[in-house]
Symmetry: C2
Subunit: 100 residues, 2 copies
DNA sequence: TCTTTAAATCGAAAAATTCCGATCTACATA
DNA sequence: TATGTAGATCGGAATTTTTCGATTTAAAGA
């Protein structure tokens, strides 16, 4: 969670990772079949089903987004729940708007 | 000049290309030594001096930014003058803000 | 304790990106 | 016409990214 502009832009350079973030804007729309309450975040395995990539690839994409500061992780038992880091996302968008 | 979100985000994934765009926000500050008037745009060779990369590499970076729709080209004689495509940049930022 | 399940990590292959020097094209000028 | 300059394009090397299957780690349940 570095919040470095370059790292964030690299994280956004792959369409699958952008999709992950976009899906998470409206979880009830994209992850309505999740066993756990959506308030806990989105379970990692939900992304696998939705994007068709392997477990290890999805895990790597989620790690990239988390390292960039765009996602937060909530580990409960054997599960990892991801949610958008709205504060970092907003400040990135603001920085981009004022510097780009 | 496709104005495709994915292509733009890929174009922004390299720090040198982001620098190019940022420098061009204030040309009088970053390209004050240009022989031609800054209103014509920024001459390609200006970027070479400033970033230290080779002519062919700079040309490729500029082409990437132009294909993404972030820059416009104005060819005059043997020179290529580049300027920001403010309209596309603004609509990209707006789209990003409302979808990401 | 043994088995199952979820997710991270490892190792390696494939693909994409970055970069350079050399070449090619176009224009300008002597 | 020959020379010089600017910039695009080509070919290839180096690096980075993407992806997968296999393994490891950790927790859950039988």
């Amino acid at each position: 969670m570095t919040t470095d502009k370059t790292e964030i832009l690299k994280a956004l350079a792959h369409p699958v990772r952008v999709s992950f973030l976009e899906w998470m804007r409206t979880p009830e729309e994209h992850f309505c079949n999740q066993a756990h309450p959506l308030e806990m975040g989105i379970c990692a395995n939900q992304f696998e089903k939705k994007c068709g990539l392997s477990q290890s690839t999805v895990s790597a994409h989620l790690a990239t987004l988390e390292k960039a500061g765009l996602l937060k992780t909530n580990r409960v038992g054997q599960w990892a729940f991801y949610s958008r880091d709205e504060e970092n996302i907003a400040s990135f968008l603001n920085e981009l708007k004022s510097t780009l």
